[in-house]
């Protein structure tokens, strides 16, 4: 086993333990636990059996398995970034709405 494989596996295990902890503390739902467990499990498989990705890479027409992983990761990251962006925007708008209501309510009280 390569050193990088061991390091990555430990990291994945650590990441998953964080997810599980959040689930136990009721900070995330069961659905999210399942999704993230699945995600880290796939990551572990990819690291343990690199040929696994090569096989899929060949099927979809990419030369190397490592390239496939990077392409997929970048696409996924952009998607997550987009989701976070939308979410942030919504939160910003909500803060503005609350601030506005507070300002107008305070004013009513004084009159």
């Amino acid at each position: 086993m390569l050193v990088i494989q061991i390091i990555l596996l430990f990291f994945f295990l650590f990441a998953w333990s964080r997810v599980f902890r959040k689930y136990r503390l009721n900070e995330i739902k069961l659905k999210e636990l399942v999704i993230w467990s699945f995600f880290w499990l796939i990551a572990a498989i990819v690291v343990l059996v690199p040929n696994f990705t090569s096989t899929i890479a060949k099927i979809v027409g990419i030369g190397r398995g490592a390239d496939l992983v990077i392409y997929m990761s970048v696409a996924l990251l952009f998607y997550i970034l987009f989701r976070v962006f939308i979410r942030l925007e919504k939160i910003e708008n909500n803060i503005t709405k609350i601030t506005r209501e507070l300002a107008l309510k305070d004013n009513n009280k004084k009159e």
């Binding site: 962006f85 925007e89 910003e92 708008n93 803060i95 503005t96 601030t99 506005r100 507070l102 300002a103 107008l104 305070d106 004013n107």
Partner: protein, 217 residues
Amino acid sequence: MTELVVVPAYNEAAMIGRVVRDLFQHNWNNILVVNDGSTDATAYSVKAAGVKMVSHTINRGQGAALETGNEYARRNSFDVVVHFDGDGQLNAADIKGAIEKLNSGYDVVLGSRFLDNRSRLPWTKRYLILPVARFVNYILTGVSLSDAHNGFRVLNKLALEKIRITQSGMAHNSEIVAETKRLGLRYIEYPVEIKYLEYGQGLKGGIKIIFDWIFKS
């Protein structure tokens, strides 16, 4: 008919008193200062000037402040809203004519500093920044105006009911223009004077406006 002059102010302690007095002197008595979470003595200056004020607990941007003013006007049944920057660059003498213009058959009157020669602009603004801003504004909104962004506009009741400003930052200028067009409101430009006390938003501000417009609408 009742008019409300909405004055957005963020850290304008030094100027706001003068702005309000100028408005009073021109017989505008329905004034609402929207204190946008100022961290200086703006609130104190406004109180000293004896004018109505609502305060954002935290700074939310000029667009957000103007929408708060609009919402106040809706709830208190005002017929006309004047947006009038709190930084002391506008001239209260321009309001009367702008409202007359509005009443001659328009829903929105937009201030422009290029329709007469009262405004003395720094040449970089006149020849470099504003032509670009106008062009970008045209691309974004589909409306060709002689001026792009300035803090003076008048809305009638119809425009007030229909337009909702969702752009919290400075991109609200383009948003209001775009909404005016989309909603089929009748609009016209009106010459206003801008006194240049300081430079304003500069190029960085302009880039942020474009960014906000693209990603936040």
